[in-house]
């Protein structure tokens, strides 16, 4: 993750790239020819929009172009944490990553040093998966379901000019 200069691409992004990201990180038109509609709004061609999006994806500037699901409504999920011996962290992380339904796993600087998101089609299955993983790890799993969401929108305005100076 850390091998590349992370902001090397900003200078490579021209005005149209930036407008695409700024205008559509909060939502693309959900219609028959979405990229055609985007192209009309930006005053370019559908083929150009598609080519730009492909390039931005290839650069890693866009992680994807597609639906953002509300995981709380598309199955069951919860944030979980385990405190594992630091020296054995990677071995424990592998066990966690191999468990069904785990889609994020971060090492964090705390006694609870592994943080992951467990998902399942429904609540009973979720509990079952956590119980199974808990016995496999031999360590208690801190279960932190979301009780209330105050802000769940990952998008925020990108300060292009500022990033260019960095």
């Amino acid at each position: 993750m850390h091998c590349q200069v992370p902001y090397c691409q900003v200078q490579e992004l021209d005005t149209l790239d930036r407008r695409l990201i700024d205008s559509y990180q909060r939502g693309l038109p959900v219609c028959t020819r979405p990229f055609h509609t985007v192209a009309e709004r930006l005053g370019t061609s559908e083929a150009e929009v598609i080519a730009r999006l492909e390039r931005l994806q290839a650069l890693g500037v866009l992680s994807r172009v597609g639906p953002v699901f509300d995981h709380a409504r598309a199955g069951a999920s919860l944030l979980a944490a385990v405190a594992v011996p630091e020296a054995e962290r990677d071995a424990f992380a592998e066990l966690i990553n191999a468990a069904p339904g785990v889609n994020h796993n971060y090492a964090r600087e705390h006694d609870y040093n592994l943080w992951f998101v467990m998902t399942a089609p429904d609540e009973p299955e979720l509990e079952g998966r956590l119980d199974a993983l808990e016995s496999r790890l031999g360590l208690p799993i801190l279960r932190l379901p979301m009780l209330e969401g105050f802000h769940i929108d990952l998008s925020f305005p990108i300060p292009w000019a500022e990033l260019e100076r960095t």
Binding site: V30, F150, L163
Partner: protein
Amino acid sequence: MSVSTCPSRSAPDQAPAGGASAERDAQGLDAFDRDIVLATQAGLPLVPDPWGAVGREVGLDGEAVLERMRAMQERGVIRRVAAVPNHYRLGYVANGMTVWDVDDAEVERLGREVAAIEGVSHCYRRPRHLPHWPYNLFAMLHGRSREEVERQAEALRARLGEACRDHRILYSSRILKKTGLRLARRAPHA
């Protein structure tokens, strides 16, 4: 933009073709919806008619896929269809999960206030697990450096005031797994 009506399968109150798909899960998704989620969660095909391309994968026509996408959006299963930036690649390399022990009587009001502070990408109330875990409010901060994240955390601390007893910033030292894939197939239906 006008959308031509599709005579089959797409009407929300009409039983979809394919018997197994009539069974809906707790989120109101039937088997076709779940297939559409599976086919799109890693990203749409970048072609002029992405819905048609998804449709060919799941056995529906493009209009039916589009209708289902809209229906899922209306129900809140899909928050938006968007060009999703990778903030890390744009230079937001410091990611701090801040956790706060906030007075239960105040946490709802303060959670909403904190969520509006710059740099907060998401903010949740979660249960405490005493004695090891006293924190009931989570706010994820993103900055271009740890110093920037610390300044943001200071702003949160100031906003929470007396209602906050303790807090921590948990920086991520390594991403061990990250996938956009979310929904697992419950059971094969075809």
